[in-house]
Structures are given as structure tokens and as C-alpha cells.
Symmetry: C2
Subunit: 527 residues, 2 copies
Amino acid sequence: MALSRWGADPEGEPLSEGTRALVHELLGVSAEDAPRFDAAAVRASASRLTADDLAALAGIVGEGNVSTDDEQRLPRSRGKSTPDLLRWRRDSEVPCPDAVVAPRTDDEVLALLTWCGEAGVAVVPFGGGTSVVGGLEPDAGAHRAVLSCDLVHFDRLESLDPVSGEAVLGAGLTGPRAEDLLAAHGFSLGHSPQSFPFATIGGYAMTRSSGQASAGYGRFDEMIRALTVVTPVGVVEAGRAPSSAAGPDLRHWLVGSEGTFGICTRVTVRVHPVPEEVRHEAFRFPDFATGVRAVRAVEQQGTGPTVIRLSDETETALNAAVAGGGGGDDEAGGCLCVTLFEGTPEHARSRHEETRAVLLDHGGVSLGPGPARSWEHGRYAAPPLRDSLLDEGVLVETLETATDWSGIVGLRDAVVGALTDSLEAGGTLAAVLTHVSHVYPTGASLYFTVVAGQRGDDPVAQWRTAKHAASEAILAAGGTITHHHGVGADHRPYLSEEIGEVGVRMLRAVKAELDPHGVCNPGTLIP
Amino acid sequence: MALSRWGADPEGEPLSEGTRALVHELLGVSAEDAPRFDAAAVRASASRLTADDLAALAGIVGEGNVSTDDEQRLPRSRGKSTPDLLRWRRDSEVPCPDAVVAPRTDDEVLALLTWCGEAGVAVVPFGGGTSVVGGLEPDAGAHRAVLSCDLVHFDRLESLDPVSGEAVLGAGLTGPRAEDLLAAHGFSLGHSPQSFPFATIGGYAMTRSSGQASAGYGRFDEMIRALTVVTPVGVVEAGRAPSSAAGPDLRHWLVGSEGTFGICTRVTVRVHPVPEEVRHEAFRFPDFATGVRAVRAVEQQGTGPTVIRLSDETETALNAAVAGGGGGDDEAGGCLCVTLFEGTPEHARSRHEETRAVLLDHGGVSLGPGPARSWEHGRYAAPPLRDSLLDEGVLVETLETATDWSGIVGLRDAVVGALTDSLEAGGTLAAVLTHVSHVYPTGASLYFTVVAGQRGDDPVAQWRTAKHAASEAILAAGGTITHHHGVGADHRPYLSEEIGEVGVRMLRAVKAELDPHGVCNPGTLIP
């Protein structure tokens, strides 16, 4: 990806004149006032590694797989949160990992971690570089330097069991590459988070990612049949059977550990045949609370959509405005709900019919397949749009949580209120768009997109203040600090509140056992 | 329950003359040669606790909630495995917990665990007493005595959130009692393991239980929205949201921990409305491999039965023989598959139709609802039958595992072969009945019922030898040592092979952190 943007294009798509005029008018911002990224001005921090260190590393991973070049270190220095993207535009000094290493085997990873422990050097795993929570911060902790460990060589479909519907995927495979390799055998994984074009299998596992089709195919953690994590004290292979009662499920001790216990090198995932049929239908609900009741009824009855999403009034209206033109009366107002159904024709049809009946029964009005197809078509377009808005001086970022159904509307109101109050106190209008995109029998996720004007000299601090207010509101209302973005450095201050002091002690105990020198991603997750 | 039997009846139902004649002829056993349980001969081990100990315990849990009476200690000394039941019939000296305590609150549990650590006394939690893997062994480990901690006072439906479909249940509630309390509000849990009549909510959670309707309602671990575990260093409340990416899922660090990290006092579970409709249909497949392919297709397509079970040829034939009479030609031979569908009428109907189409497509022949209703009617009858067979000198026991679909038939053959070889080497015929009763997209469970003649002076050793052969076969074929019975003392020797040395270190690290004096169920789970 480009350093300062989502995607490969270093320039990005410019905003239309109309949008530029609109944000200027509403938010008082324009490209003239917003610093742009200047590649020539950027300076990577000097590597703190010695020639002996580099020789030792080359001995472990091979000469060509160690680099201290700025072109290698700079793109592995940050993720893709709005604070990350703003820092590229504003800070010319970039704290970087001291080297990038790319081991090729589990044995090399183990040797690397052993060397790190002896040499007092930390290590941050790198997959797709898509973290939006500071999971890539090159934080050396108490150590003298920090490496970025790129999983690029773990890039194979290692095996496929078509009878069991299981594939062993290298941790460094991106979503599209994994799907291509599976499609050659008629299979699909069905994991489609917004980071899909770049994020990797190992990253999905280590951050407990959840994709847009989680209603149908489950969260990524639910797709995991087994995984391999190389820790400083040895390799763990967790997951001996689809399900077991042989003590606590160690897969769930490792999934979500964000590189703090070791490095994930491969994941065995559940796969399914490429669906024969995909059906789409969108619905409109008069208001968010009514839509939430309907979506809840669908999930609690178990009608079986593959995708189900509900936008609140603000998100529905803003998306319609951005799409422009097309929206006749029939598609205006209220809350948009998008559904997709995949499988055999009979399976997709019966799921569609039962879901449709429940949604109509609960106050929904069908909008036909059109808006659902539009959503599917544009579902990876938001991050590049964010870049263009940042270039225009707009502050735009997302955050997410989850809670029980009985608390969903109240939590939405609390978070929208906290964000709006914080940002408007800084003298800008703020719009907060909300949707429900992951549903469970007992509750759902909430995803917020915040749009405001950048204010003052330090929009990163402006955002951190708003985000802190939202985080406090989430925890006060009983929500989780993150439903699918992960903890990273950004949510780490809230983890004690999330899991309690005994919970933190459990994480620390395993960390101390598996990573006695504390070299594994010390800036992340564990407080 | 009665000491030496499953269920409350200390006498049990006698076998029919025909069955007695049959087992005498085939297995060479009869009641005359089999020792019977003699309540008068049984002697509990003397309590090793001092008067000061008992006064301290009474100070913590209240005078009426501490007992060293034999009538309290004897029923908490063993579970309900066949070795347990045989020991009641053969051993008059019974190693017992040194006292039974019944705390009433989390604070009392915490104070109890603190006292145990200071006093050097171990503690084994007790729910329904249904362990079949030695989970109740009153093993003091390195300590001077051991308590049985009965959760009987944690017996309330603490709260119900009908919108979210969540209930907070005391750990000491039995299955039927929990269902009654929920039914008063129109809800059901839907967890129905064979231990259902006696086992408790806390036991389900701590052993990762799975019920007969797992296809529809999930394993018990999947029903858990949150749980409370009181550890010696404090209370953990795990599960803040239906799903989260805030680090590893600590629910799964605790679920399956079998009392070795602390004592579970309450569980928040997902509940659903009492189903409006239940539909039944049974099918016959020509052979086990064909049936496995059909059941796999159902699960991988996600057609959605609430219950789906497939018996192999031996189980089908023996069950038909035991049921006797009724079986006309249409129900004879092959492999019986039972399906149930629950929900709203439309939901049950569409799931039934899609499932039926797949099963017929894969070689099934419908037998109508009858055999499925019969299965449902008799599904808790097997354990009492086992008691009557043990009284007749028959050796009868069950064991279970799980693996991927591609390995199911091979694993079945390997385990049946290992059990048959071991038992027949001892000079008895042996029949091994197998069924698949829990299905997952990537694999399934296998449940074995073994019937042979008791031989020699020590049928417990006879069984241990056969079970060890089966366990070795399971591990060699890549299966899990237990799919839903748990680890206990019986499977502990196999856990290192199951989860690897680094996995064991992870368990030990958390154990050391939460239970620094090692007082929590030291005879169980962790090698």
C-alpha cells in the first residue's frame, strides 16, 4: 500500500467539486488548509541494530530477507488508522522498526524469536499492515531495538481437505490471494472484512477479525479449525478436532493475542463450496429502533441470511446523498437494511423467504435487490474515500463496539452523543453514521463513522479526545471496547476495564510463560 | 442419586428374563457371579479435618453448610463412570472428601478458597455428580485433606433479559430445574446431554458439555454469553459482549477448566423461545459410510436440523433387537438416522424439507416419524440400563471422540478394532455400538457403547486396559481424547499428547497465577 493512504495508489481519487464545496460549507475545511503528504520530507528513524546483529539475522533468515532500507521500514512503521494517516501528512520524522526480517519457515521464526530474547530485541509481526488500532507501533518496550517480522513467505495454500471442507493457509496470504487459491478447487472462505483487499490470514486470526458475511459464515475466529503459533519457547498447534472437551479451547487462548504470545504462521480454516446462487434484497425501516427489532427477530429465529446490515437514519441519508441522483421517493428516508443469501438455489431461496417474511412482519418495506447490489458493489470503497476527505481537511474515522440487543439503541445514542459533544466542543459540526453489521442471537455490533472538520494544530489530538469520550461511553454502557478492530496500542488503556484485573493477570501469566523475555509485540494488547 | 447407580432408585429396573438369558448365553455372565452393591458394607474414609478446621469452615459458610457425615461424603466421592459403579459393587473402603461444604455466595466461595490455600486443603467442586471421567476424585494432591464444594445454593434464575434472549443461571441448577424456571417465562435453553436429569449448569460449563440438540442450539460452550468463576485470587467475570475482539476470549480460558482454576458460580446463557413446533423423521441408510456422507452433506449445506444422529450397523441392529417386536422389514438392517426440527412452524418446515431432500439424495430411505419419536422418548434410558447390565456381570461403558469428516469412518474402525481386540483377548465376546451425534462443518463426534462380559477378579482393570487401547487408537488416528465427557482424572494422562507440551505449559501458567497454592481440584485435567 501507499505510505499515507489506503490502497496502492499514492495519489488517490480526488473528491468531486460538489463534495469539496459541501465540506467547505458545512465543515469549514478545504485542501488549501490541510497539509499533504510529502514523500521527500519523510525521514525514517535510524536503525539501532549493529552490523553483528544484522549478520546474525541474515544467518537465521537468509541474506535477502533482512533489510534496514527505509523503503522497507517506512511502510511497516504504521497502520491505517486516521491518526496514522494524519501523522504521515504532518510528521516528517517517522519512528520505524530497526529492520525488516522475513523468515521462511517455522524453524526460522523460532530461531528469530530465540535470537530476539538473547539479543534484547523486540519483534512486531507484519501481515497486510491494515491495523487501525496501532497494532503495528514499532514499540521496543524495554528492549534496545525492534524488528518488523513480515510473514510474506508464508504464502501458500498448504493443503486442502475437500471432504472435511478444511484448508491450511499460510499466515501471510492476503484475503484475495487465499480466495483465488481456494476458488481453483471450487471452495471459498467467505471472510470479507473491509480490510479484505490487503489484510492477511494471520492478521485475521490474531485480531479476531469479523467479515461482512459473518451472519452466514461466522466470524474469523469461528472459521478456525486449527492454528500454528511459534512462541519463543516452542511451537503450539492448537485445535485437534472440530470440537473437543479436552480442557479449555487453546485456539481461543491464541486467537486475538495480536503477536504478544508469538507469531502465527498458518491457520487451518473451514471452507465451503463457492455458492451456486446469490440473492439480494434491501428493505427500508421507518426508524433505527424498529429496524433493530426486525434484524434481531431474524437472528433469533435463525432465518439464515448470509449478510444482514442495518444503517441508522444518518448513515442512510448520507449514503443516499453521496450516491446522489438515483434515489427516488421509494428509497428516501428511514433506515436501509441490506440482505444477501448464498448457497444452493434451494438453500438461498428458503433463507431468503423466511428472512423476508420476518422483516416485512416487523415493519420493513422491500426496496428490491438494487440497494443491496449497490452496497455489495461499493463495499470496499470507504477507506479510499477517507483518504480523499483527509486531504481536504475533513476528520473522518470509524470505531466499533458490540452489546446485547436490549442495549443496542441506548449504546448507539450514548456513543453518538459522546462523539458529537466532543467534536462540537472544538467548534466543528460532526456527523456520526451508525450501522449494525454483525448479529448474534444475544446482541449485535455497532459501527460508527465520524465526519467532522479538522480543527487546530493537532487533529490527531482532536480525534484522540473524541475517541476517548466514545470509549468511556462504550464502557459505561457495558459495551466491548472493540468488536472486530482489535486492541493494539490504541485500546490497550481500556483493557483492564474490559476484562478486569484477574483477566489481565491471566493474559500476563501466559505471556510470561511463552515469552519470558517480553520480546513479542510489547506495545500491544496486554496492559 | 443412589450411590451405586444412575438415578434415584437404589434398586433399578431388573432386566427381562429374555435379556438375562441372552447375555448369559452370549457373554457367559449372570447375576449370581456378579457382586452386588451392599450399602451396609460400605465404609467412608475417616475425615482428616480437625475440630478447628471445621469451626473455621462453619465460620465461612455457616454451621448448617459443613458436614463430615458419611451420608454427605459418600455420594460426593465418585462419579458415574462404569469403573465408579463397579467400585461401589466391589470395594467396601471408599476414599471420600473430608467434608462437604456448601457456600451460598461468591464471597463465601472466595473466603473458602482463601482458607483452603492457607490451611493446605484441596477442594473439588460438586454439581450433579455425573462425571464419567473421574472428575470428582477426592484427590488432595499435595495437601492434607480435600473438601467437596457443593454448589447446591447457587440454584436461582438470577435474571432474564427476554429481549436479548439471555438468562443468568446459578451454577448449581440442574438441567430440568433450569428448564422449568425458563419455561415459566416462555424460554428454553435446549441443552440436553444424556446427563441432563442430574447434571448442573456449572458442570456443563466447566466440562464443555454438548447436548443432543447441538446441531440446532450449539454446544454448551457456544451457549455461554458470560460466566463467573471465583478463583483463589479473585473473581473473574468473562464475556462482556456477545462477541468481541478485545484480545483472546477469556470465556474459553475458563470453560473446560474443570474446577482447576476456581469454582464457577453462575453462567449467563443464550435462551430461545420454547419452540412452537417439533417435527420428526427417521431415515435408513444402507451402511455407515453412506450415512456419514449424507449427514455431512446436511451439515455442510447448513440445512439446519435441531437434532441429527446416525447409528452404525451394530448400534442399529442391537437397538432394534432391544426394542424388539415392532420392527418390520422396513425398519430392519442398515443404519438408522434420526432427525428433529424445532422452531416456528415455517422455520421447522423449511429446515425439515431441505434436510430431507439432502438425505434422500444421498441414499436415505424415509422411515417416517416413528423411530425418531421413539429415540426422543427413550433418550435418557441408557444409563439405568447400564446399571442393570452391570448387576448381571456385563461390562458396559461408553467413550467418545471427534475428528474431521475425512477421518470419521477410519477412526470408527480403529476404535472398534482396538476395543474388540482388547476385550476378546480377555476371553469375552465384545460388541461395540457407534453413533455420530454432534456434527460440525468440518467433522463430527463418534460415540461408542461397549458391551462385553466381565472377566477375572478385576473388571475395572479389564475396562481400563480396553479403554487405554481405544485412547491410543484415537490419538494415533488424530482424534480428540474427549468430545464432550471432559478430561477428569481418566483422560489426564493423554492431555500432553492432545495439546502438546507448550499447551500444557499454558494451562499450568494460568493455574499457577490463579491458584498459587494448587488447591483447586488437583487430581483433574492438568498433567
